[in-house]
Structure formats: structure tokens, C-alpha cells
């Protein structure tokens, strides 16, 4: 095939000299099928042409010790759009030409001005037949070619039905134009106009369907739109703007304030606040500095910085998200498989029904038999369209998965989407899911003679040397208030109890009640307040100086601001909410009370999480597990639907059923609500397609003829064209779906 010759562009990483260029060129030229390969050291790119798979080139360059990535970008999308527009216009032309000849002919017929099939009239019909042939060749040739090719492959499809329906009308019309006496006088009706109008309408239907479909992929277009088009790179000491596809691996890129970050990479100089909301939904910009990773497609708000490109082209987080959404959009859940099975045998079945219809009219039909026979058979062929049936599931999935992506929920496949709809229980991991996963100092209670700042300074000074997660919270709190810790001496960690050290000659103790009891420090007056703190889900820590209590620092992993609201929304959806945590029962209960979960499993070891999910399933619950994706992996896998939370930029997006790009539990609610809406939409589509064929085919065959109802073939053609438009339009309604935000108590 001459068409398999293509040219590709690659970015090459790791080249430093002309020797490298030769090595890479040789490696690429050794790939079978490569006709030409040129490597540009300045640009760090390679152009390759030949009959070759780009993956093979990447592998060969890798083996030679360099990195290669295919350069592809928005150019593809623009090309796709242009091709679609051209096809759309072509369909409209086909419609226009067929309609321009078909409708006037129909008008003549209705006015009773049809010439007779004799003398000059016969000449008129033969000329009409020739014109019709030309129009059908222009407007409907694809149906005949497709039908013939499919037939040779033992396949039958929509083209088969259209080609048989219009082809037989056309052939019959020629027959009686040439030899009118072959059929009874009453049946001498010409169907040239019917064939043309049917072809016109089917082309129009395809054009309308295309328009409607264009909208279904809006979510993907929005994601693609996040990709900036150019990047400012620094090459050989010079700054230049290049198209995004030409950014190479490890190249230095300058990002100025207000610009989008072009590719994934690491900041090597400077710092800034970056708005990642487009990918994660997290509304607040995050501070990033030297050594931090930044994600392509996000917005640099304030500072200017230099970054090194680490992932480009198809490897960026954004590209992987787009790819994931795309592949999920075309996967099908079980609900669609019935339709698949039916549509696989559909067309041959319709052919058989059409033949039976013909025989029935032939044997039992009224006169003019030939006319009725032909019309009914043609109508059966035309009204039965497998398209609506085949399209019913994928088109809704496409919109539904895209919709979910808009809300920051990446659904891995159609199966996950379908299962999410039937969940009965949601299991939430506490740390990092319900809570923020980062402990914070929430209360400072100084004893008499001390103040908050002093208390915090003491605590931070002694904890600065510690590695405990709670210590980090104390140090961070001090930094926030600009309190500088002092140097301590003789630091000592008392396992399970706390720490002790000497500060400016004083003996400082910081830890739990047991540590105080051990050192005979009286805390009795504080018992009540400490218990109240523990009941609220906090961890109180005592601080003593030279044998006297200086105060209590209370640390807690704060509950995310919107957890309670999201859980209320889960209840509103009829879901049971269970919390799972390794924490002690008192803390767990306290958190559970505040957010309103129904059941708590506390003091669960990580390896037991999966068992708990299994136990719930054994009770007959359909379980959705929400966790942060790393230590919860087995439980996520065991659950009917695993939701990985807040890992939108991680490789983890490929392991969970549903990935929530922002750290809020609202994403779970939205994913479930959207999955319910999508499955409902699929059912509507399938119902419509089944009903349409279930009523349409008998109607066309003439089952209702005794009641005086018989379908006109042209109406059947129009109905066929509209059936897939209807399905696509119904799926499009999903685009306007909004999960209910407010909760009624």
C-alpha cells in the first residue's frame, strides 16, 4: 500500500555532540522500513519517513542509549476538525443534489402531471432514469460500494439495507420505463423520485448526526484546549518561542507570569504560585519552587521561572488524562452487550423479514400486487436501521465519561461507570480522604504564667529535632507565626510517650499523660479539658518546664471543609457510608460524629482493609471504596468500584476504576450521580431503538394494513435517517446534566 509511507517527528533527549547525532541516525536507519532519517542537534529532533511504526523508532533510539518521543500535538486535532467539516459539507451537497431532483419529481406526481408510460412519455421516463442514475452515483454511490464490499466479506450493514431498498426501486422503475407491459397497468408506477428522496434524506440524517456528535466530544476538546500552543525554550543560550510539539526532553523552558505551563517538568530556578484548578479542581493556587514538579496545562499565576521538561508529547499528565478519557469513552459496559449481540445478527434478519414480507404480499396481497409487494419490501429494508441500536450505548458513554471528567472524575471504563450506578455502600478511608491527612496544631492552652506564643516556641524548639508526624505539625505552626525555635540540648525521645530536652538550662518535657505521670507532674486539673479535646478527635500533648505544667498543645488531622456536606449528599443518594481507619476508636468516633458516617471500623490495620471491604460485600452490599490509592490499593481493587482520591497527576490514574483529580469527596458523589444519569440515558436510547424497530418493521411489512395503515417508503427512509439523530440528541442531553449540589436535611 502506497499510503503506509509516512513521516514522523521525534524529540531526542540526551544528545550532546555531533557523535550522538550519528549514533541516533544510525540507530533509526537500522529500523526496518525507514527510508530517511535526519537528526537536528540544535532542535534535538529527528525527522523520519518510511513505512514504519513510530514505536519501533522510539525503541531503537532507546537501545542506542538516548531518549525519543514522538512529537504530536494539536495539529492532529485541527486536522481532524477540518476533515470532519469537509465531510459534513460533502454530505450536505449529496443531500442537496438528490433533493433538487427528487422533490420536483414528487411534486409532479402529486399534481397528477406524470407523463404516461407510452410514446413521448416513455422517452421522458428514460431520460429521467438516466438523470436519476447520475444523481444516485453522486449522492448514493457510497451505499452501494459499501454494501457490495460488506457482502463479499459475509457482512451485512446499514449500507446493505439502503442499497437494496433504493436499488430495487430504481431497477423496477427502469424495468417499467423500458417494458411497461411486463406488469399490470395498475402497478405501472415509477419510483425514481422515491429512491432519490430516500438517498437525500439519509445523507441529511448523516450530516445532522455528525453535527450532533461533534458536541458529544466537547469534554475532550476542553481538555485538549488546555494545552498551550507554544513554549519559550532556551536553546544554546538563546530564548525562542517554538511550537509545543518541538519541546524536547530535558530542555529548559521559561514560563512567565500568566502563561500556561507547556509540558510536565521540574522547576530549576525561580518560584511561583500555580493554579492547577483546571486539572485538579483545587481552587487555591499552590506555591511551587526549585525542585518542585509542575504539570503541563496548568496556569502560572505570579512569578517567572525556568523549568526542565521531563515529560513531553504523549507522556504528559494531560495527554495521559486525555487518552484515558478517550479510551474510556469507547469501552462498553455489560448493558450495551445485548444490543451488540442483536445488532450483529440484525441486518441478515431484516433481509429475511423483507423476503417473507414480499412473499406474504405476493400470496395474500390486494391488487396491484406487484406494486404493494415492492413498496412494502422496500419499506421494511429502509426502516430497519442497525445504527440507532449500535450507537445507543457508546454515544451515551462518550458524553457521560466526558461529563464526569468535567467534574474531575476520571472513569476508567464503561464497566466501572455501570457498576458505580448500583453501589449501595461507600467505604471511606479516614486519613487523607475524610480528613486532610496533614495534622495541624488546632489549639494552644497555656497554663497560668505562660502565653500561646511562649508555649508554641517551647514545643517547636523541642520538636524541631524530632521526626514524629505530630512534631512536623508543631514546627509548621511555629513557622506560620514567625516563631523561631531555640536550640536545645540533650534531646531524648521517650518511645510512645514523647520527648525531653534541656533548653536554656531548664528541663522541658513534651508528650502524653503517661510521660507526665512518669515524671510526677500534676495534670489533674487538666483531665476534663484533655478529655473534651480527645472526644473532639484531637490529640492533646502536655508540655512541662522544670516539673510544672506549662500548657497543652492539641494537634488534629483536620476534617476537610466539605466532607460532611459530601457525606450528606451520599445519604441523599441512598448510600450507606462507612469509615475505615487505623486510628484509635475515640478519635475515629469523634470524626465519624462530625461528618455523619453510619458506621466506623477503627483500629484497622492496613492489610485488614481489604478484608473489611470483603465482609461488607458478603453482607450483600455493593461497595465503593475511596482511598488515596497507595496503601489502600488492595482494598480499592477488592471493592466493586475503587475511587482513588487526589492523585490526578499520578501514574495511579491507571490503577483505580475512578480517579478523582481533586481531593474532595464531592467528586465521589458526582461520579456516582453521573453514572446513574448515564445508565438511565443508555436505557432510554436502547428502549427507543428497540421500540423503533419493534414497531417500525411490522408497520412497514404491512401487519397493520387491515386497519388501513401502510408506511410510505420515503417516510421509512426519513425515519431511518432520524433514528440515529434521535439517539445522539438524547445522549447530548447528558451534557446539560448537573449533579444536585444542595442537600435537604
Amino acid at each position: 500500500m502506497a499510503d503506509s509511507e509516512h513521516s514522523y517527528r521525534f524529540s531526542i533527549g540526551g544528545m550532546s555532540c555531533a557523535g550522538c547525532v550519528a549514533a541516533v541516525e544510525n540507530a533509526i536507519r537500522a529500523v526496518p522500513g525507514v527510508r530517511e532519517a535526519t537528526v537536528n542537534l540544535g532542535e534535538r529532533t529527528a525527522s523520519v519517513s518510511g513505512e514504519v511504526a513510530p514505536e519501533a523508532v522510539v525503541a531503537a533510539v532507546g537501545q542506542a542509549g538516548y531518549e525519543a518521543a514522538e512529537l504530536r500535538g494539536i495539529a492532529d486535532e485541527a486536522g481532524k476538525e477540518a476533515a470532519e467539516m469537509a465531510h459534513y459539507r460533502r454530505l450536505l451537497w449529496k443531500f442537496g443534489v438528490a433533493a433538487a431532483v427528487g422533490f420536483p419529481l414528487m411534486g409532479i406526481d402529486w399534481l397528477g402531471l406524470m407523463p404516461p408510460l407510452a410514446g413521448w412519455g416513455q422517452a421522458f421516463w428514460i431520460v429521467t432514469g438516466l438523470v436519476t442514475a447520475g444523481v444516485m452515483w453522486f449522492s448514493g454511490r457510497q451505499f452501494f460500494v459499501g454494501a457490495w464490499k460488506a457482502f463479499r466479506n459475509h457482512n451485512a450493514n446499514m449500507d446493505t439495507l439502503i442499497a437494496l431498498g433504493t436499488g430495487s426501486a430504481w431497477a423496477y422503475s427502469w424495468l417499467i420505463s423500458l417494458w411497461p407491459t411486463l406488469v399490470p397497468a395498475l402497478a405501472r408506477h415509477v419510483y425514481f423520485e422515491a429512491a432519490l428522496i430516500i438517498i437525500a434524506l439519509i445523507n441529511l440524517g448523516a450530516a445532522l448526526e455528525m453535527r450532533a456528535r461533534g458536541k458529544t466530544s466537547e469534554a475532550i476538546k476542553r481538555l485538549i484546549g488546555l494545552q498551550p500552543r507554544t513554549a519559550r525554550i532556551i536553546r544554546n543560550g538563546k530564548e525562542m518561542d517554538v511550537p509545543i510539539e518541538e519541546v524536547g526532553l530535558d530542555e529548559t523552558v521559561r514560563v512567565r507570569p500568566g502563561e500556561k505551563i507547556p509540558v510536565d517538568g521540574v522547576i530549576i530556578d525561580g518560584h511561583s504560585n500555580i493554579d492547577e484548578s483546571m486539572l485538579t479542581g483545587e481552587p487555591l493556587p499552590v506555591a511551587r519552587g526549585k525542585g518542585d514538579e509542575v504539570i503541563g496545562g496548568t496556569l502560572n499565576k505570579s512569578g517567572s521561572f525556568l523549568m526542565q521538561a521531563k515529560r513531553i508529547g504523549a507522556d504528559t499528565a494531560l495527554a495521559r488524562i486525555i487518552e484515558l478519557v478517550r479510551s474510556a469513552q469507547s469501552s462498553k459496559p455489560a448493558i450495551g452487550r445485548l444490543a451488540d449481540r442483536i445488532s450483529a445478527v440484525f441486518v441478515p434478519s431484516v433481509l429475511i423479514i423483507a423476503t417473507l414480507t414480499l412473499l406474504a404480499w405476493f400470496n395474500f396481497g390486494p391488487e396491484p400486487r406487484v406494486s404493494y409487494m415492492l413498496a412494502a419490501t422496500m419499506t421494511v429494508l429502509l426502516i430497519a436501521c442497525p445504527c440507532a441500536l449500535g450507537l445507543a450505548t457508546p454515544i451515551s458513554i462518550m458524553v457521560g465519561v466526558g461529563k464526569a471528567a468535567e467534574f474531575g472524575a476520571l472513569i476508567r471504563n464503561g464497566e466501572a461507570l455501570q457498576r458505580a450506578r448500583s453501589l449501595t455502600t461507600v467505604v471511606l478511608d479516614k486519613t487523607g480522604t475524610v480528613t486532610e491527612g496533614r495534622p495541624r496544631v488546632v489549639e494552644l492552652l497555656p497554663a497560668e504564667g505562660h502565653d500561646e506564643a511562649g508555649l508554641l516556641r517551647l514545643a517547636a524548639s523541642i520538636e524541631a529535632a524530632s521526626e514524629h508526624p505530630l512534631a512536623e505539625a508543631v514546627v509548621a505552626a511555629a513557622r506560620e507565626r514567625d516563631i523561631a525555635p531555640e536550640t536545645v540540648e540533650g534531646f531524648e525521645a521517650v518511645s510512645g510517650k514523647g520527648v525531653r530536652a534541656r533548653l536554656a538550662g531548664a528541663e522541658v518535657l513534651f508528650g502524653n499523660r503517661r510521660l507526665m505521670a512518669e515524671s510526677d507532674i500534676a495534670v489533674d486539673d487538666w483531665e476534663g479539658r484533655a478529655k473534651a479535646l480527645a472526644d473532639a478527635g484531637q490529640t492533646p500533648m502536655y508540655l512541662a518546664v522544670d516539673g510544672a505544667l506549662a500548657g497543652v498543645v492539641s494537634v488534629a488531622d483536620p476534617i476537610k471543609a466539605d466532607s460532611a456536606e459530601a457525606i450528606a449528599r451520599m445519604h441523599a443518594l441512598g448510600l450507606k457510608v462507612v469509615m475505615l481507619t487505623g486510628d484509635n476508636a475515640a478519635t475515629a468516633e469523634a470524626v465519624a460524629r462530625q461528618v455523619g458516617v453510619d458506621e466506623v471500623f477503627a483500629e484497622v490495620l492496613p492489610e485488614q482493609k481489604e478484608e473489611k471491604v470483603g465482609a461488607l460485600q458478603a453482607r450483600g452490599e455493593v461497595v465503593g471504596m475511596v482511598g488515596d490509592g497507595i496503601n489502600d490499593a488492595p482494598a480499592l481493587a477488592r471493592a466493586d468500584v475503587g475511587f482513588a482520591i487526589g492523585t490526578g497527576t499520578d501514574v495511579a490514574i491507571e490503577s483505580a476504576d475512578i480517579t478523582l483529580m481533586r481531593g474532595s469527596l464531592h467528586g465521589v458523589v458526582e461520579a456516582i450521580a453521573i453514572s446513574r444519569a448515564t445508565v438511565r440515558n443508555i436505557k432510554q436510547n436502547l428502549f427507543g431503538a428497540f421500540i423503533y424497530n419493534g414497531i417500525g418493521i411490522p408497520l412497514a411489512a404491512g401487519v397493520f394494513y387491515p386497519l388501513g395503515i401502510l408506511l410510505n417508503p420515503m417516510i421509512a427512509g426519513a425515519a431511518m435517517a432520524m433514528s440515529s439523530v434521535t439517539v445522539v440528541t438524547n445522549a447530548n442531553r447528558l451534557r446539560f446534566y448537573k449533579p444536585k449540589r444542595e442537600v435537604r436535611a
Binding site: 514505536e55 476533515a83 470532519e84 464490499k149 466479506n153 450493514n157 448526526e209 469507547s330 405476493f362
Partner: protein, 119 residues
């Protein structure tokens, strides 16, 4: 005359059943390790039947000529593989068939239909 027409009708039904359901295309392309080019045009995949060995990855290079949207995706049923096919540009899909059997690959609407026969 009437008997003849009825008989002809029954024969046609028999032929439909035989051609579309009982017999299958003789033309098969056997995977030999080299990439296989598949043309997507006029409602069919050419070649439409590909024979492969279980566990051995095969490279299918799709070239889509048909601009109509139903051809835009190819979906391998039961294999969880799908790909978007750009118009006029080759797209390589690597498939590793897991177990012997027949796997259909189709477009979204199932108008294009091909088969992977795995031995």
C-alpha cells in the same frame, strides 16, 4: 408461477442464512510477526479476518479513508482495547490476544466488522 415465486423466496432466505451466518470468509490474513495493514473504507475492514496466535502480540496498522464518524474508532470486543483512527493517517494498534477464540473488532456502530481468530 406462484409456486415458483414462493420457492424462489425460500431459496433466497436459505442463501441469506448460509452466506451471512453459516459460511465465513475464506480470505484470512495470517499474522506472521510483521505488521498487518488494515484499510478502513467503504464499510469494511480490509482484510477483515486476521488469524493470530494466543499470547503473541500483533501490530495492526489501521489506515482510515472513510471520514464518516462511525469509522472513527475501532473497538476490540472483550479485549478492552480501543483506538481512535485519524483520517488518512496510519494508526498502529498492538493487540496481544489472550486465549484462543474469536474476537470481533468493530466500529462504534458495528457497521465495520472484523474478526480476530486466535488459535
Amino acid at each position: 408461477m406462484s409456486l415458483l415465486v414462493n420457492l424462489a423466496g425460500l431459496v433466497v432466505i436459505g442463501l441469506i442464512v448460509w452466506w451471512f451466518w453459516l459460511s465465513s470468509p475464506r480470505a484470512r490474513t495470517v499474522a506472521t510477526g510483521a505488521p498487518i495493514d488494515i484499510l478502513v473504507d467503504d464499510g469494511v475492514y480490509t482484510p477483515g479476518v486476521i488469524e493470530a496466535k494466543a499470547g503473541e502480540p500483533i501490530e495492526l496498522r489501521f489506515l482510515r479513508k472513510d471520514a464518516s464518524p462511525c469509522a472513527e474508532q475501532v473497538i476490540f470486543e472483550g479485549l478492552d482495547i480501543s483506538a481512535e483512527l485519524p483520517v488518512d493517517r496510519q494508526k498502529t494498534v498492538t493487540v496481544t490476544p489472550p486465549a484462543p477464540g474469536e474476537y470481533a473488532f468493530t466500529c462504534q456502530m458495528k457497521m465495520y466488522r472484523g474478526k480476530l481468530v486466535v488459535r
